[in-house]
């Protein structure tokens, strides 16, 4: 009897903490979304429904430029870091590769070091080499912090690779190039897509490394939002944030399978 009640208590405790954490995780986001439709300049209370901040968003040129910059950097850094990821993962596939250990260590170190250090070190590199900060330096920085992730995700997919398929194809007389394009690439494609998606998200999300490498005149969305919060011009940020949350939701829901690969490989 006593054991029964203890078990129940234990389960109840877990359910309670789960619910509380859910409330904790979602309350601020929900309030943000609700207040993006609030017809008031400050956040004191509900003054009626409006869409005017969404309309303002469409007229705001700075936000649109920041949005374009963010997308441009995210697409380019995703493309380049994914290509580098595929090449490196294929190179590391060879178990007898003499540089295997060195390359692996170099890939893992950026993952365990606080972001801010990569920001500072790149800022000093660009100062030392007298390179003007702007789009190019931001792109370099984003590729640098994405590569490790793309390599690790694609590599873990290659580790699960079933080589009997390749052997079967060889027995049937397939050429190495055919094997590569018709068997290997299609089978690791989910890993490649997962890696690209991860790189894209990381790039869009990054503030601190961009902050150190962007200089004046090249703002991404997170940089713009931080500046707007500091200046106190926050009315459009609610609506901008709501749209970005909506896009995230879309991404999470539509990429269920890909997400699984990301989780299992990290």
């Amino acid at each position: 009897m006593k054991r029964f009640s203890l078990t129940k208590l234990f389960k109840g405790l877990n359910l309670t903490s789960f619910t509380l954490v859910m409330v904790f995780l979602y309350i601020p986001i929900l309030i943000l979304i609700i207040f993006s439709f609030n017809d008031a300049k400050i956040i004191t209370g509900w003054k009626g429904f409006t869409l005017k901040y969404y309309a303002q968003l469409l007229k705001n040129e700075t936000i649109q430029i920041a949005f374009r910059n963010t997308m441009l950097i995210a697409c380019l850094s995703t493309l380049i870091s994914t290509i580098l990821g595929v090449l490196t993962a294929l190179g590391l596939e060879n178990k007898k590769f003499s540089g295997s250990k060195f390359v692996s260590i170099l890939i893992y170190i950026p993952l365990v070091i606080p972001d801010i250090l990569m920001g500072v070190s790149l800022a000093l590199l660009f100062n030392f080499t007298k390179v003007n900060t702007g789009m190019l330096t931001v792109l370099i920085a984003h590729i640098t912090f994405c590569i490790s992730y793309t390599i690790i995700v694609i590599r873990s997919r290659l580790d699960d690779f079933d080589y009997s398929l390749v052997e079967a194809a060889m027995d049937l007389g397939a050429k190495p190039s055919t094997i590569f394009w018709k068997i290997k690439i299609p089978l690791i494609l989910p890993g490649i897509i997962a890696a690209a998606l991860l790189a894209f998200t990381l790039s869009i999300d990054d503030f601190i490394i961009t902050f150190f490498t962007s200089g004046r005149g090249f703002d991404t969305l997170p940089i713009y939002v931080e500046g707007a919060i500091r200046r106190g011009t926050i009315t459009t940020i609610n609506s901008l944030s709501t749209i970005m949350i909506g896009l995230t939701l879309l991404l999470v829901v539509t990429t269920k399978r890909i997400r699984k690969i990301v989780i299992s490989s990290l």
Binding site: T7, S17, T44, K96, I107, D115, L124, F128, V225, L249
Partner: protein, 301 residues
């Protein structure tokens, strides 16, 4: 691959193929390798060099000095280090305390619900960091939502001043880093052999005893991984203390950023502080590794 004895004529052929394969591997990994050498390793060399230079308002003067390190060891900066350390530690502990029951609950849920529950944890994780911080500013502000609710309920007579305090910083830190703790904990708990728990309970242990004797020790890997994923970024965080904290208690990330971005600049100090942070992180990684392998080997005996 078959092992061919040395006296076999095929041995030389195999050696040649292996050498060729090795060369191909170097070629394939070269782009990423060179990229990381140029944009990850060399920048740290520059940080090391800059930490020994003389500060200037806009730039550095190429004169050797240990001034930056001497300043880092003054009480003001040691206090910053202490604050950051305390913040990271508290964040990690609170995340573990909050995250464990959640991970446990999801891991023991029915397979059908599991994925949905996981999505709920992942959505905030994939939402833009700055947006999540901003949403807390709205929630906690002096005339914000929380104060309005509490005032209307009559629980307080005056608005609480939470924004721009250390409490707000901790709260938002836990909020942001919680998924980093829950996900590794979940992946360990999910693979856990629950029949062990059933066996223990059949033998008369209650849930609480079996939790401390079985679940917790077996989840060690997840606790270590989650701990590192929270503690290390928390040590160098800039955005959260900057947006919800105050300027009276500055954290390491803020001080480093100010020294790089604000005028008068002090790049040697930013470099020295960065290297100190790097050293602390390295020490922690080694400590975690030793503790983890020690606790693992002890279990086997």
């Amino acid at each position: 691959m078959k092992i061919i004895p040395e006296n076999n004529p095929n041995y030389a052929l195999q050696l040649a193929t292996e050498r060729k394969k090795n060369f191909t591997s170097w070629l394939l990994t070269a782009p990423a390798l060179l990229w990381l050498i140029f944009f990850f390793l060399i920048p740290y060399l520059i940080v090391i060099i800059y930490s020994f230079l003389t500060a200037d308002i806009y730039d550095v003067k190429f004169e050797f000095t240990l001034e930056a390190y001497r300043q880092c060891l003054t009480p003001a900066y040691l206090h910053t280090l202490f604050l950051s350390f305390r913040l990271a530690l508290l964040t990690t502990l609170l995340c573990l305390l909050l995250g464990f029951p959640v991970a446990y609950y999801i891991a023991r849920a029915k397979d059908k619900v599991k994925n949905t529950l996981l999505i709920f944890i992942i959505i905030p994780f994939w939402t833009n960091l700055i947006i999540r911080i901003f949403s807390w500013r709205i929630f906690l502000a002096y005339n914000g939502v929380l104060n309005n609710i509490l005032l209307n309920l009559g629980l307080i007579s005056q608005p609480l001043e939470i924004m721009r305090t250390d409490i707000a910083v901790i709260l938002v830190m836990v909020y942001v880093y919680l998924p980093y703790m829950i996900l590794p904990l979940y992946s360990v708990l999910e693979k856990l052999d629950w029949t062990l728990l059933n066996a223990a309970m059949d033998l008369g242990a209650n849930e609480i005893i079996s939790f401390f004797k079985i679940t917790l020790p077996l989840a060690r890997g997840g606790i270590f991984a989650g701990g590192l994923l929270v503690f290390i970024p928390a040590l160098g965080s800039y955005l959260i203390p900057q947006l919800v904290g105050n300027q009276k208690s500055l954290y390491l990330g803020q001080v480093i950023t100010y020294k790089v971005k604000n005028i008068p600049r002090n790049w040697p100090m930013a470099s020295a502080l960065s290297l100190i942070l790097l050293l602390i992180v390295a020490l922690f990684l080694i400590m975690f590794y030793v503790l983890y392998s020690h606790s693992k080997s002890r279990r086997r005996v």
